[in-house]
């Protein structure tokens, strides 16, 4: 079924029928993503809720959403995951993976969250060890992140 993934992927990259604009990041690190509301609704409870409650955020006939507390490079992974259900974390800077973990918790992307958590514990063990305090501080408030929390302790 690789064709299916490819087709969905190109839908994301070369979208000309998108109906959602998502402005991600803050300060200098801002990027605008294009997406399809039906895919977002289908893939994420968070986006379903957002899209159900944004009747007036229309911009040129498109829904405009701001998501300032997520950095663009991480959101890109999320969006790709939403479209084709695949991520490649080994290519990503490890701090992005940590941010991805936090963002996917906020956006109710349980599968992605579990994957990122396991990836950090199993594939980035030494980095986590070297940055134990930072990691723990970042995830200590995530009640779903027990695995990594325990790993740090």
């Amino acid at each position: 079924y690789s064709n299916l993934l490819q087709d969905f992927s190109s839908m994301l990259d070369d979208a000309d029928d998108h109906d959602v604009l998502i402005q991600v990041g803050e300060n200098q690190d801002i990027e605008e993503f294009r997406a399809h509301s039906n895919i977002l609704r289908a893939r994420s409870k968070y986006f379903k809720a957002v899209l159900s409650n944004v009747s007036n955020d229309l911009f040129n006939g498109k829904i405009k959403i701001k998501k300032s507390n997520i950095i663009p490079s991480v959101f890109k992974i999320i969006l790709k995951y939403a479209y084709i259900g695949e991520v490649n974390l080994s290519e990503q800077p490890v701090k992005n993976v940590l941010e991805l973990l936090i963002a996917s918790d906020e956006l109710h992307l349980e599968e992605l969250f579990e994957y990122a958590q396991d990836f950090l514990i199993e594939n980035r063990t030494s980095w986590v060890q070297h940055n134990l305090i930072h990691v723990f501080r970042r995830v200590s408030s995530l009640s779903n992140c027990k695995k990594l929390q325990n790993h740090c302790i």
Partner: protein, 778 residues
């Protein structure tokens, strides 16, 4: 601005109370404000993402409980306001239940409408709030084990609006709902959507302690109570005002309405409950009243064959426990009553007839029997039709009807004889002009009556007698019909029941062959040929109903005696070791009589021939006394009287009796009636034979039946004991009854007597240890 944006590597205590509080307050203020805006329907000015992130941050910073409680507070406050500003002002005037001041429930309807709006607003807002607080639901509500925010909203609505402690909203709501339903029951048009909205609302709310819906805890019981009361009153009213068919139509309609009501705006779980109430109040409580309604109840329906009404009653009454039982017993009683009436006309007829039996009205006996059977058949037809068209061929009803028929048929002790006579009548002449199918259907119907007879052995005895007469007197119209009937009896009772009947048919066939041979024998014989044509039917004594030991005596004229002798020689020559006994009471003769006017050929019975031939030797005007005839002919008294009656008192008066009268008495004088005239040359003299047995004959038949029963009972006991060797008294009785009940119902006293008789004759013995146990002695 987010606490997450701390410079890396810098370690700080995770919480600074002041800044965290400030953070919380800031976030919470925005959210509370947002929820208020949502309640004001201003949601469009809000940024969903920002609110979501506020809630997210609050939960992230362990302020989930504060957030949750805050939300509860804001929503409660809002609902309190709604209660005061919207719901309370919509209360119907002067109490919802007062339909006098509020005749068409408009106030109530308006109240429901307001509630509908309030409810819809609330749920819409709660959906938005739920979306914003999605992270709280997932992370906080789950771990804190509190209801999700939407469910919290439902609970708050329940406690603040529906079950408000401050305002009598609940009372008004329930009363308005019940009032609306009452109005609809009284044929007012109500706005069902408003009612349905409130009902749906109650269905969606959950009672905290029972975990059941608020509909079930608050509404349903009240609804059922008021419905009970309503239908209790209505039931009493309807029973007083309407006749049974109308009443049932009303009930039918009510049942339909309630079913529709449930389907349109109540919960399906209520359906069986309200159905039970209507059934209880409108059907169960008035079962007897409706069944017994004068001029319109069950019996009048049956009398007038109101199949639709009967069918409706069957369907309606079937809904309640006792319904069909009541119907069944009422119908059965009715059948018994009708049956009793039929039986009574018969007894009154036969007793009346008994008084003038000597009148020679020989038809009446059979007519009564035929009419009795016909009336019973008509009754059976009627109830078969009812069963078929109105009672869905219900087996239970059929059984109870059958019992009723069985009851009254066996109440008439003559029913076995009557049924046999009815068949006799149909096989003799009734069949003329009927097609084979019609014959078959008449006989089939008769068989259904035969089934009801308890004393089948008595029937068999009569059937044999009637069949014998039909065969010997050549009165049977169709051999096929006769065999068809025997076939049917065989199916009912098995081959044992019919072997003798079939044997009778065989005798007839063999006799006809024998007569052919006899003629040949005479032709070839050198002996002097008899001066008369003799036709003999040889009957096997065990097949036929004649009593050999009491074989009637009769002095036959010499010519006849001689002819009989010739046949006897011929027959015994072929079958040695057999014994022939002449049944002179069964024969007929053709004789020629010369009267003044002309000669007539007379077809008479053998006895009549014997009597008439005596007058051959007498001079004109010379009379014979009853005693002379009796002495000379030696004919049994009852037969003699009957035959003299036929000759002297019936349609053709060949003899003249002195003194005149319908009865034959000792001392009567008889003269040959020379002046006799008749239009036909050939005359058949019917024997005055009361077809229904006289009391004496009946007693005799009874005795014969009792005697046969003794034998059958003994045979059954021996059969059973031979098989079991040893058996306890009660078990033996039960087994004997079981074996014999297809023929008759043996009473235990009879069985006990037979057991004792068998012990005396040393077929059985009592067991040594236990006198209630019998052993078989081989």
């Amino acid at each position: 601005m987010s606490s997450r944006k701390q410079p890396k590597g810098k370690i700080r205590p995770p919480k600074k109370p002041n800044s965290a509080d400030a953070q919380f307050n800031d976030n919470w203020d925005r959210l509370a404000q947002a929820i208020r805006e949502i309640h004001k329907k201003n949601a469009s000015i809000l940024s969903f993402e920002e609110l979501y992130r506020n809630a997210y941050n609050m939960v992230l910073h362990k302020n989930g409980d504060k957030l949750y409680n805050g939300v509860r507070e804001v929503i409660t406050q809002h609902l309190e306001e709604v209660a005061v500003s919207q719901v309370v002002p919509a209360f119907p005037l002067s109490g919802a239940s007062s339909s006098q001041t509020n005749p068409n429930g408009a106030g109530g309807a308006n109240f429901l409408k307001v509630l509908k709006t309030v409810w819809e607003d609330h749920t819409t807002c709660m959906l938005m709030i739920r979306d914003i607080l999605m992270y709280m639901d997932r992370v906080y509500a789950k771990t804190a084990n509190v209801p999700l925010v939407y469910d919290l909203g439902l609970d708050l609505f329940r406690d603040t609006i529906v079950r408000s402690q401050n305002y009598p909203i609940q009372n008004h709501l329930l009363e308005v709902l019940l009032q609306q339903i009452k109005l609809e029951r009284e044929n007012e048009i109500i706005d069902r959507t408003n009612v349905k909205a409130s009902i749906d609302m109650l269905l969606e709310l959950t009672d905290a302690s029972t975990k059941d819906t608020v509909y079930a805890t608050d509404f349903e019981n009240k609804f059922l109570e008021t419905s009970s009361e309503y239908y209790r009153v209505e039931g009493q009213m309807l029973v007083g005002e309407y006749d049974a068919p109308e009443y049932m139509k009303k009930v039918d309609k009510r049942l339909n309405e309630e079913e529709q009501r449930v389907r349109h705006y109540l919960s399906q779980t209520t359906e069986p409950k309200i159905r039970n109430i209507v059934e209880e109040e409108l059907i169960s409580k008035h079962l007897k009243t409706v069944i017994e309604m004068e001029n319109s109840g069950l019996i009048p329906m049956l009398r007038n064959e109101k199949m639709d009404d009967l069918g409706r009653m069957y369907k309606l009454f079937g809904r309640v426990v006792k319904g069909h039982d009541e119907m069944k017993s009422a119908i059965s009683d009715y059948i018994r009553e009708l049956g009793k009436a039929i039986n009574e006309t018969v007894t009154s007829n036969t007793t009346a007839e008994g008084g003038n039996a000597a009148s020679g009205d020989k038809q009446t006996g059979a007519t009564v029997a035929v009419r009795w059977v016909q009336e019973v058949l008509d009754l059976k037809d009627k109830f078969d039709k009812v069963q078929n068209l109105a009672l869905s061929n219900d087996k239970a009803f059929q059984t109870s009807f059958n019992e009723a028929f069985e009851y009254f048929i066996n109440k008439n002790s003559k029913s076995p004889e009557f049924i046999s006579l009815f068949i006799d009548d149909n096989l003799k002449k009734g069949l003329k002009g009927k097609t084979e199918e019609e014959v078959d259907s008449v006989l089939d119907k008769t068989i259904t009556l035969f089934r009801f007879i308890g004393e089948k052995d008595v029937f068999e005895r009569y059937y044999k007698q009637h069949l014998a007469k039909r065969l010997l007197l050549g009165r049977s119209v169709s051999d096929d019909a006769e065999r068809g009937m025997i076939g049917k009896l065989k199916v009912e009772c098995g081959y044992q029941f019919t072997t003798k009947l079939e044997g009778m048919f065989n005798d007839m066939r063999i006799s006809s062959d024998t007569m052919t041979d006899f003629k040949e024998y005479l032709d070839k014989s050198v002996l002097e040929k008899p001066k008369l044509d003799l036709s003999v039917t040889v009957l096997t004594s065990t097949f036929w109903p004649m009593n050999l030991s009491a074989s009637p005596r009769c002095n036959l004229p010499p010519e006849l005696t001689k002819a009989c002798g010739t046949f006897q020689n011929f027959y015994l020559g072929r079958h040695s070791g057999r014994r022939l006994t002449w049944q002179s009471n069964m024969g007929t003769a053709d004789i020629r009589g010369s009267f003044k006017a002309r000669k007539h050929e007379l077809n008479v019975s053998t006895y009549q021939m014997v009597i008439l031939l005596m007058f051959n030797d007498k001079q004109d005007g010379e009379s014979l006394s009853y005693e002379q005839i009796k002495g000379e002919s030696d004919i049994p008294e009852a037969d003699l009287k009957r035959n003299l009656q036929s000759l002297a008192c019936a349609k053709y008066k060949i003899l003249v009796k002195e003194p005149k009268g319908k009865e034959i008495n000792p001392g009567d004088q008889f003269n040959f009636n020379n002046d006799f005239t008749a239009p036909l040359q050939r005359i058949k003299i019917q024997t005055v034979a009361s077809k229904v047995e006289s009391e004496g004959e009946r007693k005799e038949t009874r005795e014969k039946v009792e005697e046969a029963r003794k034998h059958q009972t003994e045979a059954a006991i021996v059969r059973i004991m031979k098989d079991r060797k040893t058996m306890e008294h009660n078990l033996l009785i039960a087994e004997v009854v079981k074996q014999l009940q297809s023929r008759f119902m043996p009473n235990p006293a009879l069985i006990k007597k037979r057991i004792e008789a068998l012990i005396e004759r040393e077929y059985l013995e009592r067991a040594t240890g236990d006198r209630r146990v019998y052993n078989y002695l081989a």
